[in-house]
């Protein structure tokens, strides 16, 4: 049976399944590799079609010798998710090429199962899961066809069988998934070979960078406030702080975590919230300005109050935090920090330096100077636009004196440069601003289009103070959001979408589904299991209790499963009378007189009466009742209920 030559039909089925499973990897695997696998499958299928067997071993070795070095050149390792999947795919292709016996088909099905799992380690959407379960369903049906002796069962039958097996397996899988203890930390270090590029803000900012983000509807993170959300003008989500300027680009001078942040005196109310971050492959976590507490173990506040974790964010996480929107610094600025935050590139932006000196002379007070610069933005013909002209090396000069058209990055950059030139420590802060409330789920959505840049200036006696120059030129942006702020001729892609109410509603509902999927399924963890146990009224839930509940639930499901599977062997009769009669026969059998297969009710009663005179009356009556219920007209005097009660009360003693 194992050595059966495989037919074209079976090969076609299994190749199709392998192809579908690899389709889930089409974005991560190199195309030439998929080509090799497809070529292997096609060659083998063509050979099988013309009735020929697998190609000689030499060709296999040649393909392997070609593919393996290519793989190694591409990945430099076979360890890691993508490289491992690539290796597995090539193996599957080669296996397909050399498929001779049923055993080879078995091995390919195993590879299909594992490749499907690997896809789930990379992606996390509901549709991917549904697709892969579908693929495994198909694979299972194919396996049934491939392993049965004689003529293969039809596709319909095989699929129905596979579907039934999946349905029967589902409850058990669910119990395991809910209650199987999760690891707090991985067993071994996961090689981080994620090919997903970093997204969202970066730790450098040139004027115009954020403009690209403004067109993206991708969700950066979601936020749920425990009570009321702060007003729009205070919803600044703090990202990387940029304090080094070369005349064109702002960068982060301090990389890495280090230095305790200077103490702050909170003023005003505290806001408690949970940030649900999407993975962006950077280390920072966006918190409401200014964060004071968070529950992420491997994260710390940098000395400029950005929450940074040790590892790049490669999976979605939830961080609960507390922030104050109004704070005051209680310590003076350290001299080194002051020197850094006043530093300017030499020989660049000369006109800006000149302007700063003039304004400084007119406004000796720091706050007056800030107001004067903001007034300048407001009164002079500055425009807020998504399509600003490109700027060269002296970007601030060109922007302030020539083009006067820019996005938030231009204004933040120019404002900070002006402040530094005037002797006020200043820095650019990037992050997000605003957010869209999803009324269906009561949470806020922050999209890439809400990325923003603003500035902070050091005012003696108050500390770092947030100044958003964009508010001076386009106050609507800060009050209402981007779509209302940009000029009408800007190509904001989804303008009509934002203004069509049913579309907005549908989009928000869809986002709610995505959010529920993320929160309930993807982020299911030890904490969720503890809550589940609490919900089940388990006192003082811990890992041990979890295992006990798992064992109990498993016993229940297994009992159900066994019953479910074996029920089909003898389906319970829908006829109540017949079922009750069967119970009567079982009782008599237990008492030592089993009904013979050919015996009718009356004959049986007669035999029982002869063997056990003590039971004669009852059994004769009950059997006659049964006969009349089954075979007589419905006007029979005895009712079904009476018959049932009679059988229930009947307790023959064994002799």
């Amino acid at each position: 049976m194992i050595t059966d030559r495989v037919s074209y039909e079976r090969l076609l089925g299994i190749s199709g399944c392998l192809g579908l499973a690899l389709l889930a990897h089409v974005t991560t695997l190199p195309l030439w590799l998929l080509f090799i696998v497809v070529a292997c499958g096609s060659i083998r299928l063509l050979l099988a079609r013309s009735g020929r067997s697998a190609p000689p071993r030499g060709i296999l070795i040649a393909v392997a010798a070609l593919a393996m070095p290519l793989l190694f050149l591409r990945f430099h390792t076979f360890n890691g998710l993508v490289a491992g999947t690539a290796l597995l795919s090539v193996t599957a292709g080669l296996k397909l090429l050399e498929t001779k016996t049923q055993r080879d088909i078995y091995i390919i099905t195993l590879i299909i199962y594992f490749v499907s799992l690997a896809a789930l380690l990379e992606g996390d959407s509901f549709w991917l899961l549904a697709y892969l379960i579908g693929v495994c369903w198909l694979t299972t049906a194919t396996l049934l066809r491939a392993t049965s002796n004689g003529p293969a069962p039809g596709w319909r039958r095989s699929l129905r069988y596979g579907g039934r097996v999946l349905a029967q397996a589902l409850p058990l899988a669910l119990v395991f998934w809910l209650l199987f203890p999760r690891l707090a930390s991985p067993l071994w270090q996961i090689p981080n070979d994620s090919k997903t590029a970093a997204s969202g803000l970066s730790d450098t900012m040139s004027p115009g960078d954020i403009t690209q983000l403004a067109l993206s509807d991708e969700v950066a993170f979601r936020v749920r406030f425990e009570s009321a959300a702060p007003p729009a003008a205070e919803r600044y989500w703090r990202g990387p702080v940029l304090d080094s300027f070369d005349g064109h680009t702002w960068t982060r001078a301090t990389s890495g975590i280090g230095g305790t942040p200077p103490p702050l005196q909170p003023q005003g109310p505290a806001y408690h919230y949970t940030v649900m971050m999407e993975p962006h492959q950077h280390r920072w976590i966006f918190m409401l300005d200014w964060p004071s507490a968070w529950d992420r173990p491997h994260a710390e506040l940098s000395n400029d109050y950005t929450l940074m974790q040790y590892e790049p964010l490669s999976r979605p996480i939830d961080v609960a935090g507390t922030s104050y929107t109004h704070v005051q610094y209680s310590e003076p600025l350290k001299p080194r920090t002051r020197a850094r935050d006043l530093q300017q590139p030499r020989g660049r932006n000369a006109r800006t330096q000149q302007l700063a000196r003039e304004m400084r002379d007119a406004h000796p007070d720091d706050m007056d100077l800030v107001s004067a610069v903001l007034d300048m933005f407001h009164q002079q013909p500055f425009y807020y636009t998504l399509t600003p002209p490109k700027l060269a090396d002296n970007s601030v000069d060109e922007f302030l004196f020539d083009t006067k058209r820019g996005f938030c990055g231009h204004y933040a950059s120019a404002f900070a440069a002006l402040m530094r030139a005037a002797g006020i420590p200043a820095r650019v802060v990037t992050g997000y601003h605003g957010g869209t409330l999803n009324p269906y789920g009561d949470y806020w959505i922050l999209r890439q289009s809400e990325a923003h840049a603003w500035t902070e200036v050091w005012i003696e006696g108050r500390g770092w103070m947030r100044i958003d120059p964009t508010a001076a030129i386009a106050p609507e942006r800060v009050e209402r959001g981007l779509a209302d702020a940009v000029s009408a001729d800007d190509p904001l892609a989804s303008r009509w979408q934002r203004n069509t109410s049913w579309f907005v509603g549908a989009r928000l509902r869809l986002d709610l589904l995505r959010e529920v999927w993320r929160e309930r399924i993807l982020d299911f963890n030890q904490d969720s299991q503890r809550k589940l146990l609490e919900f089940l009224k388990v006192p003082e839930p811990d890992g041990q209790k979890l295992v006990m509940v798992l064992a109990a639930a498993m016993a229940l499901v297994l009992a159900w499963l066994t019953w479910q599977i074996h029920r089909e062997l003898a389906p319970p009769s829908k006829d109540v009378a017949a079922r009750t009669y069967a119970r009567l026969c079982a009782k008599l059998a237990a008492a030592g007189i089993a009904r013979l297969p050919h015996e009718g009710a009356e004959a049986y009663a007669l035999r029982v009466a002869q063997l056990r005179p003590d039971l004669a009356d009852t059994v004769t009556a009950l059997c006659r009742h049964y006969s009349s219920l089954r075979y007589a007209t419905p006007s029979a005097r005895i009712t079904l209920g009476q018959f049932q009660a009679g059988v229930r009360a009947f307790r023959p003693k064994a002799l």
Binding site: L117, L129, C136, A173, W177, R182, T562
Partner: protein, 309 residues
């Protein structure tokens, strides 16, 4: 292995007597499932973990299905089998499936042979097991086995049935001596030529009948397979004698007698068999032939053949 004593056939297979083991492929699958679980746990991916749990549960369900494939299957087997030494014994397993599920790819094993078959829901079927037998004599098979790898071949489950199959292995028909009567011709007048007038009726078909004796017309009309039988009224009963073969080795003698029995039977002549300790009165027909063959098979063993029916 549990000893049940003798089972009364037909037997409905109870789940307690079904054993189950993973196949080599099942062990491989287990390893893959374990790897899938580890990957899901280590990457802390709930989707991967869910998928791994689903596949493990599928394997678990399949295990039950494999076990169920034999459960409550009613099995019967022919208790007496006739064969010739050096050829094959054919065991017929009758399976009845009273349940609503199809029983697929059931393998029956007896002696060294095995046969495969399926029984759809609420139907019956037979599986033929063909096993070679080498030595003449009476062999008793006290146990036979039913096994299945359905579905998927991840697991195989099997059960032993303690039955009693008696195999009468007649000696291989061989010899150079002609029938005693063939030498002394003249008594049988009609034995060589068979005209229409010899036709005496139909009897049930049995394997081994010359094709020219088949009642093809009856079969063509849709009737049972039947064989035309010819009366050989004029033929004298013939004694096949052990003593007439003096000087030959024991097994050679038995082989010669066996050949004579078959030749006489094919020639439609009444014959009797006389061997030490056993005498079978002259007669004809299948039952008689079997009685003679069984007598030859059991010669020398302490077993006395069951009385002829």
């Amino acid at each position: 292995m549990r000893r049940h004593g003798r089972d009364s056939l037909p037997i409905s297979i109870h789940r307690r007597r079904i054993y189950l083991m993973p196949t080599r492929f099942g062990v491989m699958l287990g390893a893959i499932l374990a790897a899938m679980l580890m990957a899901g746990l280590n990457y802390n991916s709930n989707l991967a973990l869910g998928f791994a749990f689903l596949m493990s549960s599928v394997a678990f369900v399949i295990m039950h299905h494999c076990n169920r494939n034999l459960q409550r299957l009613s099995v019967d087997v022919t208790t007496e089998v006739d064969a010739f030494a050096g050829r094959e014994a054919i065991f017929e397993f009758a399976l009845r499936n009273g349940s609503n599920v199809d029983r697929c790819d059931i393998e029956a094993r007896c002696l060294t042979g095995s046969g495969m078959g399926s029984v759809p829901a609420r139907e019956s079927g037979t599986i033929e097991v063909i096993a070679p037998v080498v030595r003449r004599g009476v062999t008793r098979v006290r146990q036979f086995e039913l096994r299945t790898r359905y579905p998927f071949g991840w697991f195989f489950s099997w059960t032993y049935v303690q039955g009693l199959i008696t195999i009468y292995v007649a000696p291989a028909p061989a010899g150079t001596k002609t029938l005693p009567s063939a030498g002394a011709k003249g008594t049988g007048t009609h034995s060589e030529t068979r005209g229409e007038e010899d036709f005496s009726g139909l009897r049930a078909y049995e394997p081994g009948v010359p094709l020219k004796h088949m009642a093809w017309k009856v079969l063509a009309r849709g009737g049972e397979a039947a064989v035309r039988s010819y009366s050989s009224l004029a033929a004298q009963p013939e004694w096949l004698e052990w003593s007439s073969l003096d000087g030959m080795a024991l097994e050679a003698r038995l082989s010669q007698l066996c050949l004579w029995v078959l030749e006489s039977d094919a020639a439609q002549r009444p014959y009797g068999l006389r061997i030490p300790g056993r005498e079978i009165a002259p007669s004809g027909g299948a039952a008689h032939r079997f009685a003679c063959l069984r007598a030859l098979a059991s010669f020398g063993s302490d077993h006395t053949a069951e009385p002829e029916r």
